[in-house]
């Protein structure tokens, strides 16, 4: 057993770190590290820098712009990416829509969409959840009816992250309402958000931030050529995408960065003249999170090792999402606590010269409650583990 990275892997890490350091625009890094909101311009700007380097989508096949890195290299890249404070690449295009197209798309669809996704010429978002279909996704009702050379789409999607930036949206829609199994009447459609009949409405979250939206479809015409895979086979596509996503949900690199920041903040914050970091009650809570993260990092390596050896990982990987999000949430909670009474002021109403970073900490804590709910709630992850790994 060997938990160490090889010399080649360490050299690779150094290469990634050096490049990121030199190429992340300082004002964007500042925003990331200060938990400030990144606008569409910020996201696109960084995406295009990364596209030029060729690092937008490491997992893609090399012919389409992938890097050819193995699982360990990809993890090293992700970790360094997070530690560096690089702005996120919204996953909806390069990670989600693209993996579907690569697996199920026609040649014409690949040629049409993949290069534009890679360069962020189109900003993508995801149309899965509906008001009545959350964990029970297959009950979705948004209807697509075939009329000549196009579908007519009616219905509503919700929780559409960055839908207000979206140029395109990939949607699960119901194309057959009469199937005995509700999974069978679903199709996967690509929809241009500039099509008449689409309305995007903000859903303000409890931190008062705007990141998710409701998207309404009112007689929206979608060309038949925008159907991915076969009609009524959308659930196969959806399941593939869910399974494809789970490695990387631990967000280890990001949590390591946040832990470091939290410790630095707690070291500077005094309680009765002594650093909060040395306060036993606070420190014990922090230590338990840190220990869990140390363990999760090795757990993640074990999955990577399995992936590298067998090309596959089992359903146990759901634990990365569960533990990873628990750690992220605990870190935001402790960070808010470090701010003490200063955590209470609310940013948009503050006076000039106000410490906006401190005021973002409680908002971030509130916002991060989403992590155990999104991308398959942690309860759904436990259902998956129970059924697929334990056979219950």
């Amino acid at each position: 057993m060997d938990l160490n990275y090889s010399a080649e892997e360490n050299a690779f890490r150094e290469e990634v770190r050096t490049w990121l350091d030199a190429n992340i625009p300082p004002e964007l890094r500042e925003k990331v590290l200060n938990y400030e909101e990144l606008g569409k311009d910020d996201l696109v700007r960084w995406h295009k820098i990364l596209a030029k380097k060729g690092w937008v989508a490491p997992v893609w096949p090399v012919e389409w712009g992938g890097t050819g890195w193995n699982a360990v290299q990809r993890y090293i890249y992700e970790e360094e990416y997070a530690l560096a404070g690089a702005p996120p690449i919204a996953p909806f295009g390069p990670t989600m829509c693209a993996s579907v197209l690569l697996r199920f798309g026609s040649d014409a669809q690949k040629k049409r969409f993949l290069p534009r996704i890679y360069n962020c010429d189109d900003f993508w978002c995801q149309g899965y959840s509906e008001p009545g279909s959350g964990s029970d996704l297959a009950s979705l009702k948004t209807r697509a009816e075939r009329r000549g050379d196009h579908y007519v789409v009616n219905g509503q999607k919700t929780w559409t992250t960055l839908g207000h930036y979206g140029d395109w949206i990939f949607c699960l829609v119901r194309t057959d309402v009469d199937t005995p199994k509700k999974q069978d009447g679903i199709s996967f459609l690509l929809i241009d958000m500039k099509t008449p009949g689409i309305t995007v409405r903000p859903l303000v979250l409890l931190d008062e931030g705007h990141e998710v939206n409701e998207v309404f479809f009112d007689d929206v015409k979608v060309p038949l050529e925008n159907l991915v895979f076969e009609e009524n086979k959308g659930w196969t596509v959806a399941k593939y995408l869910l399974g494809h996503e789970r490695l990387g949900t631990g967000r280890i690199g990001g949590s390591k960065r946040e832990l470091g920041k939290l410790k630095a903040m707690a070291a500077k914050t005094l309680v009765n003249g002594k650093p909060l970091l040395e306060d036993v009650r606070f420190r014990d809570r922090l230590s338990r999170v840190e220990i869990e993260l140390m363990a999760l990092e090795v757990t993640n390596m074990r999955f990577l090792d399995e992936m590298r050896r067998t090309g596959n990982i089992g359903p146990e990987v759901s634990m990365l999402k569960i533990k990873g999000t628990e750690i992220q949430q605990a870190l935001t909670e402790l960070t808010m606590q470090v701010a003490g009474p200063s955590a209470r002021a609310f940013k948009p109403l503050a006076y000039d010269g106000f410490d906006a970073f401190t005021a973002s900490l409680a908002a971030r804590y509130f916002n991060f409650r989403k992590t155990s709910i999104y991308a398959g709630s942690n309860e759904i992850q436990r259902n998956i583990y129970s059924k697929m790994a334990l056979g219950l």
């Binding site: 938990l3 140390m294 090795v298 583990y385 334990l390």
Partner: protein
């Protein structure tokens, strides 16, 4: 990065598993626990034949030069089978002597341990010490070219079957004044009050009154006992972590089996989501424990003492928390059956509980982690 066992280690691991399954099936274990010796001499000899006793000891002194990581699968098998052999005591103290002892001590101990001819134990805790290695009153005073030891030791695990016992004693009143002595169990003036422990090991409280040992009984330099012992106990802790992982895995598997077979309301109780999520958390907890155990074993053999102390302490915190959760949940999900002495899982729970406070509990180790 590689989590695969080498072919050689895989073979060893398979052999150990076979030995444990055969010699330590639940009925056989009951007899071993109830025997006068409290362990199985036959199994101990098998361990020697398999090379387990010399595995973590240096090849220069009669061992086989394995790493701590090499012992993970062995200890997991011991945990799953609830093995009561004095393995951790013996190899951790032999490793201590190999690292801190004199040439003569090494020559007397390492080979004998590897061949299965010598068992060792550690006497460090006292009525007022709790887990602190330096808070002791047992004294060693010079007497001619030897030493005389006086004091009381408690909770000396594996003492009744040990040939020699490593005893901590104060050689000066100062903070650094703790020294280690290798004392024959049957030394004159040493009285053992023996007992069975909650987790079916054998232990003893020991009174030392005027125990005279030679100058060659001192292990390492006078007053250098705590540092050497800390290293040895970090090694022992890493092994206990791996043992706990094996025990937790057994508790998970046994509980899963029970959920699939036990029926209430006409269906297996494993069909209830309230129980499904709890057993999933048991498994996740066990896998997290396994991960941090790998990390602890890797660090135990490293040269950075601060790093070793920190990582092993972190692992012990995780293991203590996990052992408690997995153990308690295993009993709860087994319902009334889990409360009976007839179920192996009940014994697993007791062992896990005691591992959770061997050499220190979660509170002790979380303090040491952050220090």
């Amino acid at each position: 990065m590689d989590f695969q066992l080498s072919e050689e280690l895989q073979q060893l691991s398979d052999s150990v598993q076979r030995v444990v399954e055969k010699a330590y099936d639940f009925e056989a274990r009951k007899k071993i626990v109830a025997s006068d010796q409290g362990h199985s001499a036959e199994t101990w000899n098998t361990f020697a034949e398999l090379g387990l006793l010399g595995l973590p000891l240096s090849a220069d002194h009669g061992g086989f030069g394995g790493s701590s990581s090499d012992l993970v699968s062995v200890m997991e098998a011991f945990g799953a089978g609830l093995v009561v052999e004095p393995y951790v005591s013996t190899v951790s103290m032999a490793r201590l002597i190999e690292r801190a002892g004199s040439d003569a001590q090494r020559a007397a101990v390492v080979g004998a341990v590897a061949e299965g001819n010598m068992k060792l134990a550690l006497a460090c805790a006292e009525p007022g010490s709790r887990y602190d290695l330096a808070t002791i009153e047992t004294s060693a005073r010079r007497d001619g070219d030897g030493w005389v030891l006086d004091g009381t030791k408690i909770g000396v695990i594996d003492a009744p079957m040990a040939d020699r016992i490593v005893v901590t004693a104060r050689t000066s009143g100062k903070a650094g004044g703790v020294s280690l002595f290798l004392v024959p169990r049957d030394a004159k003036g040493m009285t053992l009050k023996t007992y069975r422990t909650q987790d079916s090991l054998r232990g003893a409280d020991i009174t030392l009154s005027g125990v005279r040992v030679g100058g060659d009984a001192l292990i390492g330099a006078e007053g250098a006992g705590v540092a050497a012992l800390e290293e040895a106990l970090d090694f022992a802790s890493a092994l206990l972590c791996a043992e706990a992982v094996g025990a937790m895995k057994y508790a998970c598997d046994a509980t899963l089996e029970y959920l699939k077979t036990r029926k209430q309301f006409g269906v297996p109780i494993g069909s209830f989501q309230a129980l499904q999520h709890r057993i999933v958390d048991m498994y996740i907890c066990t896998e997290q424990s396994r991960s941090i155990t790998y990390l602890a074993c890797a660090r135990v053999d490293g040269s950075d003492a601060a790093d070793r102390r920190r990582v092993v302490s972190g692992a012990r915190v995780k293991i203590a928390d996990a052992a408690r959760q997995v153990g308690q949940e295993a009993i709860q999900l087994h319902g009334g059956m889990g409360m009976t002495i007839e179920m192996k899982v009940s014994h697993t729970f007791k062992r896990l509980t005691m591992i959770g406070q061997s050499f220190g509990d979660a509170d002790y180790f979380i303090e040491r982690f952050a220090a």
